[in-house]
């Protein structure tokens, strides 16, 4: 749960638009990307890029796996994850792949069915956060002037207020409101980082010819933002979504872990909460805590790997080098 990786190359507010912000994929002339409605072709380029980049492939496969498990959990886990149907504290066996909890629930079933809650949070909160970030970032850059000033201050304030303590305070007042509250709280508070990234990219687009043309045609600002600017930024928006989804997973799991989610939902964070409450590590049930944590890490890694690959795609300077070139450079 450290800084967003993609932000590291781009998050230098004072250094002007960083090279990683270039929306154009590898080997594609800038002009193609600037064609309005280029979102579909940008997506196609991304799929090719994901296939070519090993990190991206691993990330994509991992993510797909988790999504499939979230949609079809019954395929690999038959037991009801909530029923206290078995003897408590059973060890690992073929009947109970990970054993049972101190309450007699099947741990494997909890783990598999818990995927759904996490995936829902990752995608809804990730998408909603990105939507706010796009609107705020692009509007600030495109409208400029007082709008930019006001939205910029709002973004910066949210950026420096420590997010996790703020989440804790809000969630504490909301008092165990369940998944929807978690999603809302995360969405409202955590859009600022990506909004800033999107703003600097949108700023670099402002003086492009096709936007001038739209202005001369007399289009309204909203139309230009939605139809002309946003499609051009597809690959950065996807990267922002990946960052936001990663943070949604980590924040939601952390909040559930400390008991600020609904303790009755089946989810990885809630499993960790109950494991901690029952001192699972000390009472010889380490799997209760290790398994859900490993899943969170794996899902997070899937988002992070995809994101890192996007950085490499956008910023060729960061791509792995061949060794002989290194020698010459030294």
């Amino acid at each position: 749960m450290s800084m967003p990786i993609s932000g590291i190359t781009t998050g230098q507010p004072d250094a002007g638009p960083a090279p990683a912000l270039d929306p154009v994929g590898p080997g594609v002339p800038a002009a193609t990307a600037a064609v309005p409605g280029g979102a579909a072709s940008a997506l196609r380029r991304m799929t090719t890029a994901i296939r070519r980049n090993r990190k991206a492939t691993i990330g994509a496969v991992l993510l797909l796996l988790f999504v499939l498990v979230a949609i079809f959990p019954w395929v690999i886990a038959n037991d009801n994850p909530n029923a206290d149907a078995f003897k408590p504290r059973l060890g690992v066996s073929t009947a109970h792949l990970l054993g049972t909890t101190a309450y007699g629930q099947d741990m494997w079933a909890q783990l598999v069915w818990g995927t759904r809650n996490v995936i829902i949070i990752a995608f809804t909160a990730g998408l909603a956060t990105t939507l706010i970030a796009v609107l705020v970032g692009v509007a600030a850059a495109y409208l400029g002037g007082a709008w930019d000033g006001a939205l910029g201050v709002l973004t910066d304030v949210l950026l420096v207020i420590p997010l996790f303590p703020l989440l804790i305070v809000i969630a504490a007042y909301a008092n165990g409101g369940g998944t929807l509250v978690l999603i809302l709280v995360i969405t409202v508070t955590s859009w600022s980082y990506t909004a800033r990234q999107l703003r600097s990219q949108a700023l670099s687009l402002r003086r492009r010819d096709f936007l001038e043309a739209a202005r001369v045609r007399g289009e309204r600002p909203l139309y230009i933002i939605v139809v002309e600017v946003i499609p051009t930024m597809t690959s950065l928006i996807v990267a922002c979504f990946l960052t936001n989804a990663l943070y949604a997973v980590l924040f939601a799991s952390s909040l559930q872990f400390i008991g600020l989610g609904d303790p009755n939902t089946v989810s990885w964070g809630t499993m960790l909460y109950w494991a901690q409450n029952n001192a699972a590590l000390q009472t010889g049930q380490p799997l209760w805590a290790i398994a859900p944590g490993a899943c969170i890490a794996a899902l997070g890694a899937a988002f992070a790997l995809l994101n890192y690959a996007f950085d490499e795609i956008g910023n060729p300077a960061l791509r792995p080098l061949r060794r002989n070139r290194v020698k010459r450079a030294r």
């Binding site: 749960m1 504490a172 872990f257 944590g293 790997l305 300077a317 061949r322 450079a329």
Partner: protein
């Protein structure tokens, strides 16, 4: 200097926003959580305390909202955070005062070590582009950046605390067998208790520094002045440190400021796992026992600490790099 003043103004504004959030939240939430808190503690704390809290949370009062707000701001700015309910009858300030040094020690040292080690590794990885360190580090740290802090802490507890019995993993010192004093035995006990939490924090934060430093090193190494240094035939070590790293370290400083928030959230969760007697563990205790005055004060304290850290990093960057003085 104008830059510093402007940044200071921004931080005062941010602090005001945080104060206002604190004021508005309990009043905005459905079913007023403060009311539930007060009824929970009814009979356990003195009537005078309850009265003061009712004023603080705007319950049973006919005063209009703006007036409540002014009273609230005045109380906060004069350092009057009220009485803790969980640790009644201690005041919030005195309760926090006992916890703050544990966190400062633990998080401060772990962060500085992470920054130094991470930056150094990043310099080497960026310099030996494509070398063994460089090809191994980024993928490893992409993965560690996705590991939840608290889980890393739990794994360390399991391995070094429970399985191997090497190190203690509960609390800041041995509560049963040791009394706090400035004695060598107590200090070494404190150190031993700090090793695992510090390691957890170090492992989860060091990747950020490495990746930032490596990436800016790579960008800097492509600059013309580095090429000129090479053409002059300067020794590699000198180019690496005096030409490339010296310039590349600035974005890392900015990153330091930006990631303070992440360090704080990590520290909260890690303190929770280790029952470490610091500010983060106390915040979660306050949340669980619905001790809202303590929770609010801790949130403000953490916010102020982060803001001050960012401000210091900002000013340092401005002093070291003339280009940022006019921009931003």
């Amino acid at each position: 200097m104008r830059y510093a003043v402007r940044r200071l103004g921004f931080f005062v504004f941010t602090l005001w926003v945080a104060l206002t959030i604190n004021f508005m939240l309990p009043r905005l939430m459905p079913g007023n959580p403060a009311l539930a808190m007060l009824s929970k503690y009814h009979g356990q704390v003195g009537p005078g305390t309850l009265k003061a809290l009712e004023i603080l949370y705007g319950i049973n009062t006919s005063k209009p909202l703006p007036e409540q707000y002014v009273t609230y701001l005045h109380q906060m700015l004069t350092g009057n955070f009220g009485t803790s309910l969980e640790f009644y009858p201690s005041t919030v300030s005195s309760v926090i005062g006992s916890a703050v040094w544990w966190t400062v020690g633990l998080v401060g040292i772990a962060t500085i070590v992470a920054f130094v080690v991470g930056t150094w590794l990043g310099i080497i990885a960026g310099w030996r582009r494509g070398g063994r360190l460089d090809s191994a580090l980024p993928p490893v740290f992409v993965v560690t950046s996705a590991i939840p802090y608290f889980w890393m802490a739990m794994v360390l507890v399991l391995i070094f605390g429970i399985t191997l019995h090497w190190l203690p993993y509960i609390g800041g010192y041995d509560v049963a067998g040791d009394t706090p004093a400035f004695s060598p035995t107590f200090l070494s006990d404190v150190l031993r208790h700090a090793i695992l939490p510090a390691a957890a924090l170090l492992i989860t934060t060091v990747g950020t520094w490495i990746l930032t430093m490596r990436n800016t090193m790579i960008t800097t190494l492509a600059e013309d002045y580095v090429r000129m240094a090479r053409a002059k035939g300067l020794p590699g070590r000198r180019i690496m440190l005096d030409y490339a790293a010296r310039n590349a370290i600035l974005p890392n400083l900015t990153g330091f400021a930006m990631s303070m928030g992440f360090v704080v959230s990590g520290a909260i969760l890690i303190e929770y796992v280790f029952n470490y007697p610091g500010v983060g563990y106390m915040l979660l205790q306050a949340v669980q026992s619905e001790d809202f005055p303590l929770m609010q004060a801790l949130f403000l304290l953490i916010t102020v600490a982060v803001l001050v850290a960012i401000l210091i990093a900002d000013v340092a960057t401005a002093l070291l790099d003339p280009r940022t003085r006019t921009a931003a």
